[in-house]
């Protein structure tokens, strides 16, 4: 018999102190890698199995929204602002990064509630569940990235060599998505309002973030953008691919640090309180 002694008592983690929490979290995630992968695989296959277009659904939203913006622009209702590259490339690339954040956040926020019956009946790593459900958005991102490649070929533009750095520049936005996903999935377990509000808010947020248009130079939106973490996290990887440089690198670094801090705090909160959710879900 293996000698694992576990004790359950109120405020369990607190008694062990904050330092051991990091170790606990890390070893839990490491131990459950296979579980995370299995859950991810399940969601992935399940989503596309009874579907005709399958994974190509990932392309629909960016194509439709970019298309709409092009129509709006041609009708003179809307201007993109000052963009140095062909608009479709700029917009689809921006949408790919944005969607990585938004679909991942929505999926992870709903993950605990969606798996409700499992969460209340089986003791397994809830972190794996949250991480696995956000993995969906990474697949969608990769598919959208193929679309970006096709667009580059169409316009006969060669992306900057810095495109190879993309995986690294995406780390902050992924961490921010996961961190918020952790905390929102918890709160969604208690208040179902979170899930409903989120899908609405996220569209709203997209219009407020310069994803499909260039950075505004004046007005309220300019001041909002100045403090919009997501703007920096989307625009820096995009600029890097299109121009090979990051013009607002300070903003990007500050946003990245804030994202990492949010991620760590949210992960700790999740770890400390995940058992509380099983009783409320």
């Amino acid at each position: 018999m293996s000698n694992i002694i576990k004790t359950y008592e109120p405020d369990n983690s607190l008694k062990k102190g904050y330092l051991s929490i990091f170790k606990e979290i890390f070893s839990e995630i490491r131990k459950n890698r296979w579980l995370t992968y299995q859950l991810f695989k399940r969601d992935f296959f399940a989503m596309y199995k009874q579907s005709f277009f399958g994974v190509f659904w990932a392309l629909i939203i960016p194509l439709v929204s970019v298309g709409t913006f092009i129509i709006l622009n041609q009708s003179g209702i809307f201007t993109f602002g000052d963009i140095e590259v062909p608009y479709p490339i700029y917009a689809v690339l921006g949408m790919a990064f944005w969607q990585l954040f938004s679909t991942g956040l929505i999926a992870s926020s709903n993950s605990l509630v969606k798996a409700g019956s499992m969460v209340v009946k089986i003791n397994f790593s809830k972190k794996s569940l949250v991480i696995a459900s956000s993995g969906q958005s990474i697949i969608s991102f990769l598919i959208q990235f193929v679309l970006v490649g096709i667009l580059f070929a169409c316009y006969k533009i060669v992306p900057n060599i810095a495109i190879l750095l993309t995986p690294i520049t995406l780390i902050p936005i992924i961490l921010l998505m996961l961190g918020l996903g952790f905390i929102l999935s918890l709160l969604n377990g208690v208040f179902r309002d979170i899930g409903n509000a989120l899908s609405m808010l996220i569209t709203f947020l997209m219009f407020l973030t310069p994803v499909l248009y260039s950075k505004p130079t004046g007005g309220i939106l300019a001041s909002i953008t100045k403090y919009n973490l997501l703007y920096y996290l989307v625009s820096a990887p995009r600029e890097l691919i299109l121009m090979g440089k990051v013009s607002e690198w300070k903003g990007f670094i500050v946003s990245s640090i804030i994202s990492i801090i949010i991620f760590i705090i949210c992960l700790i909160i999740f770890h400390l309180t995940e058992t509380r959710v099983a009783e409320r879900i």
Binding site: S2, I5, Y18, Q38, R42, K121, R276
Partner: protein, 410 residues
């Protein structure tokens, strides 16, 4: 902790809130306090809260099987979930020594669109198996589930029986150090239940400590060394199975518990069983009989409408739910023209034959094709003593006449 002990529960309590909105508020407050490193003061009840499990303590040694019984809502499942670590006690302490495997939910995380094969891997991962373990045990899992070619068919095309069998097959291949079993055994057909039981027996032989929650008192008697009786969250009794079952029956009211076990459908309820009385063959009302005595059962009913050609049926059931025998008027070619309003019938059972135990009479009034009952009930309890003592665990059902004809030696 003493290495011989698998589970130690010390004054464990868990509270729930009756009101959903308030529970949401408390939930956020608890999460907030825990996140900030403050104690959530969980040992006190707030407004609208109650103890679902209240001050329960016990120990389970390695190799023992513990049963948990109690009426619905007595906190059995909550206790089991705490043992599983799904949520933690609000008061007290639970110590678990070893890897816990739980048969609480079968087929958890099964996705209807995925094939059985794909689902086995997901489900096994959720239950804590490693890839290597699943690869090794895959054939054995499919064999146990007995679903043949269906393993490569999406689970949504499975019959409910196949679904449960596959889920159970995965669950029993976990090889835990400690096993927790909820009512899952109640699902599936007879053959499957037998298989499930022998698997748990197997665990028992391997001296794997087991906690079993069941409504089936026969199962509890048969399997458990020690039984906890819960009522309204409080521990009413802990000790040997027979006495625990008695305590439980006294709590629940025997008739209710039997009806629960049978899921007895009361039918259209147009005929109400008013009273069931048991007499000895001399017409004297009695409660305790010897197994070689006979009884007369007197049933009073009330039919609310006029019913043509009804069929009366009676049955004798043991307290753990074992149906011993039954008979009806159709079998004896007795035609009843019609009934309406108050009425009664009497059945004479020449000899009981059943062994020591507590019994009740089940009465059903059927329509003439015996497809739908007008009314049914379980009433009239009596006790049988026989020469065969009630050992608690494996008392055989019947006492028959027999003699040793020859005993030779060499």
């Amino acid at each position: 902790m003493n290495d011989d002990i698998a589970i130690r529960v010390e004054k464990a309590s868990k509270k729930y809130c009756k009101l959903l909105k308030r529970s949401m508020l408390y939930g956020v407050r608890d999460i907030g306090r825990n996140a900030l490193g403050m104690s959530s003061h969980s040992n006190k009840l707030r407004k609208g809260e109650f103890w679902a499990v209240d001050d329960v303590s016990f120990e389970l040694k390695k190799g023992e099987t513990l049963g948990i019984i109690g009426p619905n809502g007595s906190g059995k499942t909550t206790l089991l979930k705490m043992l599983n670590g799904i949520f933690w006690p609000d008061k007290g302490k639970i110590t678990i020594n070893g890897k816990v495997g739980a048969l609480i939910e079968v087929g958890a995380g099964f996705h209807p669109l995925l094939t059985g094969r794909e689902n086995v891997y997901v489900n096994a991962a959720i239950l804590g198996m490693t890839k290597k373990e699943v690869d090794e045990k895959f054939d054995s899992i499919v064999g146990f589930a007995d679903i043949g070619d269906f393993i490569d068919v999406p689970v949504k095309y499975y019959s409910s029986g196949m679904f449960v069998r596959l889920g159970f097959a995965v669950a029993v291949h976990c090889e835990p150090d400690i096993l927790l079993v909820d009512e899952v055994l109640a699902v599936g057909d007879y053959k499957f239940q037998q298989k499930a039981f022998s698997r748990i027996e197997n665990y028992k032989q391997k001296r794997i400590p087991t906690v079993l929650v069941s409504h089936n008192l026969h199962t509890i008697r048969f399997m458990c060394d020690k039984v906890v009786v819960l009522n309204k969250g409080k521990m009413k009794f802990i000790g040997d199975a027979s006495r625990a079952v008695q305590t439980y029956q006294a709590l629940a009211g025997e008739e209710i518990s039997i009806r629960e076990q049978f899921g007895l459908n009361k039918g259209s309820n147009l005929v109400k069983i008013k009273k069931v009385e048991i007499f000895d063959l001399n017409g004297k009302k009695r409660k305790v009989f010897h197994s070689n005595e006979g009884i007369i059962v007197n049933v009073e009913y009330f039919a609310e409408i006029k019913i043509e050609n009804p069929i009366f049926q009676f049955g004798i059931l043991r307290d753990d739910g074992l149906p011993c025998y039954s008979g009806n008027t159709a079998m004896k070619d007795i035609k009843i023209k019609s009934i309406e309003g108050k009425g009664s019938f009497k059945v004479k059972i020449h000899r009981l034959y059943v062994n020591s135990g507590d019994y009740v009479v089940g009465v059903i009034v059927f329509n003439k094709t015996m497809t739908a009952p007008y009314g049914a009930d379980v009433m009239g309890d009596f006790v049988v003593v026989s020469d065969y003592p009630r050992t608690g665990k494996s008392c055989p059902a019947f006492s028959v006449d027999y003699e040793w004809m020859e005993i030779s030696n060499g």
